[in-house]
Subunit: 411 residues, 2 copies
Amino acid sequence: MRASEIRALFSVANRPEVVSLAGGMPFIEGLPLDVIGEAMDRLIRTRGTRALQYGSGQGEESLRERITEVVAMEGVEAHPDDITVTTGSQQALDLVTRIFIDPGDVIVAEAPSYVGALGVFRSYQADVVHVELDADGLVPAALEATLSRLAAEGRRAKMLYTIPNFHNPAGVTMSVERRPQILEICRRHGVLVVEDNPYGLLGFEDDPYPALRSYDADGVIYLGSFSKTFAPGYRVGFVIAPHAVREKLVLASESAILSPSNASQLAVETYLDTCDWRAQIKDYREMYRERRDALVGALAEHIPAASWNVPVGGFFVWVKLPEGLDAKSMLPRAVTERVAYVPGTAFYFDGQGSDHMRLSFCFPTPDRIREGVRRLATVVNAESELVQLFGTTAQPDDDPTDVEIPSPDLA
Amino acid sequence: MRASEIRALFSVANRPEVVSLAGGMPFIEGLPLDVIGEAMDRLIRTRGTRALQYGSGQGEESLRERITEVVAMEGVEAHPDDITVTTGSQQALDLVTRIFIDPGDVIVAEAPSYVGALGVFRSYQADVVHVELDADGLVPAALEATLSRLAAEGRRAKMLYTIPNFHNPAGVTMSVERRPQILEICRRHGVLVVEDNPYGLLGFEDDPYPALRSYDADGVIYLGSFSKTFAPGYRVGFVIAPHAVREKLVLASESAILSPSNASQLAVETYLDTCDWRAQIKDYREMYRERRDALVGALAEHIPAASWNVPVGGFFVWVKLPEGLDAKSMLPRAVTERVAYVPGTAFYFDGQGSDHMRLSFCFPTPDRIREGVRRLATVVNAESELVQLFGTTAQPDDDPTDVEIPSPDLA
């Protein structure tokens, strides 16, 4: 399937009759829209000439102050001046890559990794080398071995891109023990760490994990977002970076967009000031936990021949299909059965992953999730029968660059 | 002066006691903020789950439909599918450059040209060749000669970047006679035309001029914006491009930001549907005309030794200083006298322009504009005395790349 075919499939998958386990859209129906609407009215009436005007390239200082309070929940001590506000954290990824990466440079990332990051890295002609992860996240010994091997080959990695919490797509979380180990390895090899953390406050069991940035202010660039904890429609993300990097970020952002939206920034600030955002996050956590339970319960009931992790936060379950099945070639059949997912190949730079799929539990209700898994089971069973009769349906992916699925569906 | 020094100067220039004739900020105090606030409240209450969610990479179809009505005022016949919504038209510039320009490629632009575009072109390592403009805009014979010379040197230009209406910074407008001539020259030389038109509806005298895009749907990429006709704080711009380019634009935009802000897009759509935006533009035109009159009147009264054009729309007057004066080295003294402008060097790729300055009349009231010009006259007179005593104060600009003035101040 070419990118355009996958696009066509996903446009079908957005129809209401399809249960989409593909998208990473948060369930914003849970927000108090009447309270937010009223607050936006007041914002425009009282601070409209600021909200509707151009702003600073770095972002509004008042919002950057609020952001320091949010990230303090993960142990991050930041000054408002360390922060650059971006058009979603996707723009932060784009700017950081633009600044640090020349064509041919190596970026190390988990195997698998976020499709939107891989797309950015590819657009700047980086080479991505994947490193193994397990149930405790990125494996330190594997990272050490990869960086040493690259050095021996004369190809020093410039950057580690990691999603420590409730990984997209793998669902796993880097253990607290491993965090300083990973940082020590990167420091020793002179590798910058880019910590992408959109889901960190959405854990189902524990307090937030300490961010990598909380251990090391100089070697870590932290990417954050209000898209999952509040709402993605404002496109407000941010970067926390060392001073010299921050200056480059602001210049690069001004070149790209002049300044981030003041209306959006003040809307987020108003939300943080007006609504009980901590209680809202608690509601989200409970709601998403219930949906996770629905998904893994339905998988156990209907597709026991597959295997998966049970994430302790975030939006995603990473499913290994029964032997011989190919998630990508199975997708058109799944959409015909009115269920959608993202094939695992989207999350690798090199065409791996056809035996996996990412299922997201963030948007559909628990009942819809269960119905989606039932439909998926029909497809998996039919494919499995074919495999038993004719051998594998898997095909080598000869063009890994064709996985440009529309990013908003994969956030 | 280094970029950081200019930055420091401009941060002083933003103080209220300074009359800034530097920034390109529209005077949004003229907007009906109570009506807009109420409409935003209704938007969030009734369409909040859409406004606050991720959207399409290309932008909301309902807004793209409204955009076709707006650009029809300039004779542009576009289908909503031809349009890609961007985070201000600055992002459109960035994406178009990202798609078309490889390091070393030549872009032809007016002399002078928009500083924010030059910054983007520089960031993609393009080479910019300036072409003469006069009171009727870009000079066709000069364009022809430049393109022929480049071809003879084996350096084909890929793109013409032009601001046909109420040029930033030059204030001039391309005559209707010249428009098809410019297009014909570009077509013959295989040069893509990028038409940047943020001010097109803000003419003081006539109906809007026909856009270059209205003559040629295939060879022109049109960049538009709601920043000057409504409000920049939402950061909503757009590109109208041929189909093949539009597909690339959407992919590049998804890589850069996933999707433009739905909240911002629906806010603009709501504004267009709720408020009498045509009457608002009419108000803006009258207000800006009055400010232009204040500026050129004060120049004639207080700095008659300088020369300037009288723009028939837009935000800017391009002033040639009396012989021997240097706008860049004079700036610190001007800021000390509590008046700010942008030195002409910012608008050239190659360090020209030290004998010019850009004065903007969009933001200060007529009284403040007159006061600003009086202060400027004090500085110009003092500098002129120095020139008469000691010869020129002008210094060669040995590092044209240091003109990275904060872009939001120069929009």
